[in-house]
């Protein structure tokens, strides 16, 4: 059934982007934009693959990925928070750093294999018709990913720590006046974001491609950054956006697999076009205001 296959494919191919987008969202909510998300994903992908390869188990790989991603994001945090350098330049540099570092260190992992994170059925739920194959026949990271948007929403809008994070993103000075260290909050947010992006990268290689190659993410990290902006910094919309992207990717491949008579070149553009279109529609109506400190990065305070 096309719909069921596409939706199952949506979850499969959207999850890595979902992790990266939610991570970037946390970072931006604290007032730091991190264009290095792509580099963090790659770092997580390689660290996850290498450790899973060495230990014979995917779980330590995921943990190593989170640590490696947090460290790389920490470089960005140091440059922009402590040294107050331009966020966009530093983020791009961190992306190149991640790409270069992983291409270099990853050369010997191209022909290696791992014990993959395989789909785990959930008793009861997985046998529900339609819903089971779509939502409950995945690896554990995907289940975590499905819960991530709501969890981050709860954190941001229903906890004190989330309030402090958002306040820091609106104005570091005000947060400081209330006795909170914007430096600490931002370091934590940026590094958490990097860790989540890295877990996304690890999910891509450990559960999905089962392989490491140079630049294995092919731009998914940049898609994640764009999603955050189009999602208006809302975690649930970011989840939606990631799945629209994954869905369009799955749909175009499913259509080709069924021999539908449409140019594959057009179909290959579909994920990007559809994601843009849906998020533009979704963001109409209510004003989509970025955190003030992010607005300052772009120098559009008057907007």
């Amino acid at each position: 059934m096309l719909l069921q296959d596409v939706l199952a494919g949506t979850v499969r191919s959207g999850t890595s982007v979902l992790f990266a987008a939610e991570g970037e969202l946390i970072s931006e909510r604290s007032g730091v934009i991190n264009l290095g998300t792509e580099g963090c994903m790659l770092t997580g992908a390689l660290a996850g693959f290498a450790v899973a390869n060495a230990t014979g188990s995917a779980v330590p790989g995921v943990l190593a990925a989170a640590v490696a991603g947090a460290l790389l994001a920490g470089v960005h945090a140091f440059v922009v928070i402590t040294c107050r350098a331009n966020q966009l330049a530093s983020g791009l540099a961190v992306s190149f750093l991640g790409l270069g570092l992983t291409s270099w260190l990853g050369q010997h992992y191209v022909d290696q294999s791992i014990h993959a994170l395989n789909p785990v059925d959930i008793p009861g739920l997985s046998s529900i018709p339609f819903v089971g194959p779509v939502l409950f026949h995945h690896d554990v990271l995907t289940y975590l990913g499905l819960a991530l948007g709501p969890l981050i929403w709860l954190f941001l809008f229903r906890t004190r720590a989330g309030l402090i994070l958002r306040a820091t993103g609106e104005s570091g000075n005000v947060a400081f006046a209330y006795g909170h260290s914007p430096v600490l909050v931002r370091y934590l947010a940026v590094m958490t974001g990097g860790a989540l992006a890295a877990v996304g990268g690890a999910q891509l290689v450990l559960a999905y491609t089962l392989n490491w190659v140079e630049n294995v993410t092919v731009g998914r990290g940049f898609v994640a950054v764009a999603l955050v902006i189009f999602a208006g910094w809302q975690p649930l919309k970011a989840t939606l956006g990631a799945f629209v992207f994954g869905g369009a990717l799955a749909l175009q491949l499913q259509l080709q697999a069924r021999g539908v008579d449409i140019s594959p070149f057009l179909l290959n553009m579909a994920p990007y076009l559809l994601t843009l279109a849906i998020l533009v529609v979704a963001s109409r109506g209510r004003a989509q205001r970025p955190p003030e400190e992010i607005r300052a990065v772009f120098g559009t305070a008057g907007a």
Partner: protein, 380 residues
């Protein structure tokens, strides 16, 4: 560029430098790497190899790398320079210039897109011989060669056609170009020769290596009850392993991937560049390159041993092995598996009965044959 991988390292180090320089807010000046090593302009034979990807990719580049190992073995005193992950840009020119400075007199640019840069460098260095893989153009000191791998794709298609229970075969392909279309056609013709109902479902990913898309394409095809997977792109592991994970058979292309699919591997087409590369180097060293077949557009296949079949895997039943071996013997005697009548997807006859197109006609294939499900842009 003394050992394999150092070009990749140089490039990676380049990215690192870009990153570090930017982050530190420094002006990038003189960030070029310094090279140790002597210039051996003496009598020692020096040969350079360029690969577009990593040498251990279970694919195209690994096959070319295996060729370089054979050259090394045949010329134990020669110095072999190797560079992997060389992009098809001006970067390739720089790598070749560097190899020439290090004494190389024979250069093997092994990717289709290395041809342009190689033509430029060849013009500047008439005393260096360039042996390019897969091109359609040559120069006085540049020859190009390729293997007719579609020949064995017919036999591989037969294995797939006999193994399938659903009659549906899957093919994940990077781009619709003549080379890939030719392989898909040969595969489907082979499958149909043993299983008249076999259909090949094609998915184009639009990238030579995007494992994420490959995984989803494979899953999509398997969702459609496809039970044998074939592919044509640079990195090949993901499709084979995804098929194996979902309990589906796979055939291969470029290199033997049987270790990746202990249950589902059938067979595959494989390059065997070593003997040809050794012969070409010998010809150049003896000063006989000009006028030799290698100075033009050289094509070779099963009879010369450039193309072979990968070992059979666990999924290949005795009857599959017999049939494939029979076809391979025919190919070895020079048979070309495109005997008319062949119809394209729309039912138009593209090869009339009793005819077989020549190699050059085949290399400009722009159609998919009847029985292939999938669309080429601008095609039938």
């Amino acid at each position: 560029m003394r050992r394999l991988g150092s070009a990749a390292s140089t490039r990676a180090a380049g990215w690192l430098l870009v990153g570090v320089c930017l982050a530190a807010g420094l002006v990038v000046a003189g960030c070029g790497g310094s090279d140790s090593g002597s210039n051996s302009k003496g009598k020692q034979l020096t040969i350079g190899f360029l690969y577009v990807g990593p040498h251990n990719d279970f694919g195209y580049n690994q096959a070319a790398y295996q060729g370089s190992l054979a050259v090394k073995k045949a010329f134990p005193n020669a110095k072999i320079l190797e560079a992997e992950n060389v992009p098809e840009t001006a970067e390739a020119e720089r790598v070749m210039e560097k190899m020439i400075r290090d004494g190389a007199t024979i250069i093997f640019p092994t990717s289709f897109g290395h041809l342009g840069p190689a033509m430029n460098v060849a013009k500047r260095h008439p005393d260096v011989t360039f042996l390019h893989m897969g091109g359609l153009q040559n120069a006085p000191n540049l020859g190009t060669y390729f293997g007719t791998i579609y020949d064995t794709q017919y036999a591989v298609g037969q294995a797939a056609g006999m193994a399938t229970k659903s009659g549906k075969l899957g093919y994940v392909v990077a781009f619709p170009i003549a080379q890939t279309l030719l392989n898909i056609n040969a595969f489907e013709l082979g499958a149909r020769s043993v299983n008249p109902n076999a259909k090949t479902y094609v998915v184009f990913t639009g990238s030579w290596c995007d494992p994420g898309k490959q995984a989803e394409a494979t899953n999509s095809l398997i969702d459609q009850k496809i039970d044998v997977m074939e592919q044509h792109q640079d990195c090949t592991k993901t499709v084979v392993q995804t098929a194996e994970r979902r309990g589906v058979d796979s055939t291969g292309y470029h290199a033997d991937a049987s270790t990746l699919a202990p249950k589902g591997w059938l067979t595959g087409s494989e390059w065997n560049w070593g003997p040809l590369m050794v012969k070409m180097v010998k010809t150049v060293v003896e000063g006989k390159f000009k006028g030799s077949p290698y100075s033009g557009l050289y094509r070779s296949g099963v009879p010369s041993g450039v193309i072979k079949l990968a070992p059979f895997g666990a999924a290949a039943t005795p009857s599959i092995r017999t049939e494939v071996d029979k076809t391979f013997a025919k190919l070895k005697s020079g048979w070309v598996p495109f005997e008319g009548p062949i119809k394209d997807q729309s039912g138009k006859v593209v090869v009339p009965a009793g005819k077989t197109p020549d190699r050059h006609a085949l290399e400009s294939t722009n159609y998919l044959v009847q029985g292939v499900v999938g669309k080429i842009p601008g095609g039938a």
